[in-house]
């Protein structure tokens, strides 16, 4: 029989809050984590604003040894480890370096690319004929699975340990992969999540594609405008989110706190057919992904109370809402509430799905809808489909039972997962 899967721990490192408590408060109060960065201006970026979590040197030392921090220069691994360790502790486990190997817990922690600044350091040295002086830390910080290697060692996890990568759907995909592994009985627990580096070397390629907004450099907190008529591109973000998934049986046995249940999910690809490209989604496949997630979760479209969308603040937001309308066959007053977490934290790229899932689950647990910032001018195409009341712009208490979270990524890949409020 398939195991039921619940969430028993979470951790988050977001531009508007590091740690669950601070992030939850920011969600409730609608705090934007977007700032202007002079470095981006100096480098002649069109978009000079972004989201970077605030982490002091002292704070790092709560999570890493001095030796681990020697020559350490990978912001994604930093964020991923902090979120992962926090989630693990939140689930009631400790991170003692001498802990017994836990071979019933695995780890799927995704990212897009790892340690770009470390890689840059290495390239400069190497081009200077100094390959012998790179030291021992380049490989571990620049290999894509670096975050999983660090985390699994810190926590002593002995089940499957890997890293997935599917562009901006990475985090949501990691949750679904971990869910599947527990469902099939191959693991009792899976620490899942995703992280993304910050800074110009990750964001530059997007700036060059002109997909980031250049219109809000003087007013950064207004920059990330999902669902808005004046949305003019996304604001780049960074950080990490982590969740401890656990079989319901194991969670009950341990008397663990249960945040919510994962009902199921689906991933697919549009194959860059039927309008899909490397950068644009095949809408038919997006809808199919949502429908499959419902089917696998045995949930009716009518049961969904809220959607936490991908909604990046590009011209594709209207297309996404249209896809939800068609996939759920619901529109107008009948449409679920919409949640655009990126309005507060920007687009955290590979980390987006995990951070936004943490945001989703906090809202389910505390029964509220976080405000959608910067959409006072709802896009007319979206307004045609969905009434204003479905897009709350201020903190709203609401009984919520089922939430659908979707993420989409370059390469025409899709992921959709369904969370349900857990009642003992």
């Amino acid at each position: 029989m398939n195991q039921r899967v619940v969430i028993t721990g979470m951790g988050v490192v977001a531009p508007n809050g590091v740690g669950l408590e601070s992030f939850l408060q920011s969600l409730k109060e609608g705090v934007s984590g977007i700032q202007h960065f002079p470095e981006l201006e100096d480098l002649k970026f069109s978009c000079q604003i972004g989201g970077i979590p605030s982490i002091s040197e002292e704070f790092k030392r709560h999570y890493f040894t001095d030796l681990q921090l020697r020559g350490f220069n990978s912001s994604g691994i930093l964020y991923g480890c902090i979120a992962g360790i926090d989630a693990w502790k939140d689930a009631g486990f400790d991170n003692n370096a001498d802990s017994k190997l836990d071979d019933e817990t695995g780890l799927i922690f995704g990212t897009g690319t790892s340690g770009v600044e470390k890689f840059r350091e290495a390239i400069y040295k190497l081009d200077d004929g100094q390959v012998r002086r790179l030291g021992s830390t380049v490989v571990l910080q620049t290999m894509t699975s670096g975050v999983s290697a660090y985390l699994s060692g810190i926590l002593g996890l002995g089940n499957q340990v890997t890293t997935n990568s599917s562009a901006c759907s990475t985090g949501t995909e990691a949750i679904i992969m971990g869910f599947d592994r527990i469902c099939s009985g191959k693991a009792k627990r899976m620490l899942v999540g995703s992280c993304s580096d910050h800074g110009p070397y990750v964001w530059g390629g997007f700036d060059a594609m002109r997909v980031m907004t250049y219109k809000h450099n003087a007013n950064p907190k207004k920059g990330s405008r999902p669902l808005s008529a004046s949305a003019s591109g996304f604001v780049p973000g960074s950080g990490a989110g982590a969740l401890v998934l656990e079989s319901l049986e194991s969670a009950l046995e341990r008397g663990a706190t249960i945040y919510a249940e994962v009902l199921g999910g689906a991933v697919n690809s549009g194959g860059q057919r039927q309008g899909g490209t490397l950068t644009a989604p095949n809408s038919e496949s997006v809808q199919k992904c949502i429908k499959k997630a419902l089917e696998f979760s045995e949930v009716q479209a009518s049961e969904i109370d809220v959607i936490n969308g991908h909604l990046t603040a590009t011209s594709k937001d209207s297309v996404e809402v249209q896809n939800w309308v068609q996939a759920l066959d619901r529109s107008g007053d009948d449409f679920p509430h919409i949640n655009a977490t990126k309005s507060m934290i920007g687009h955290c790229l590979a980390a987006a799905g995990a951070i936004e899932s943490v945001a989703s689950i906090l809202q389910l647990k505390d029964q509220f809808l976080a405000p959608n910032l910067n959409c006072e001018d709802i896009h007319p195409e979206i307004a045609k489909l969905v009434p204003l009341k479905c897009i709350p712009q201020s903190y709203t208490q609401k009984p919520l039972n089922i939430l659908a979270k979707a993420s989409f990524g370059f390469g025409d890949v899709n992921a959709c997962v369904l969370f349900k409020r857990y009642k003992a």
């Binding site: 001095d66 030796l67 020697r70 002086r133 030291g135 021992s136 830390t137």
Partner: protein, 83 residues
Amino acid sequence: MNKDELIAKLKPIIEPYIQDEAAFKNLSEDTDFVKDLKINSANLVDIILDIEDAFDIRLENEDMEQMMDVKSAMSIVKSKLEA
């Protein structure tokens, strides 16, 4: 540079990488980097680089292969300084 001075200069270079405090406190010429100090073998290359910087010498691959304990490190550093 005599033996004691050399050890005194090597100790702080090695310290960040050690995993066994007690063995480090009792460090002598016979102390083995991996067996006694429990240094992760991957970190041996970092120690080599730090020694290069501190003594302004260059250690070749062949030198590195031999530097498994304090004694061999001292003798190699000494020979480089005298060269």
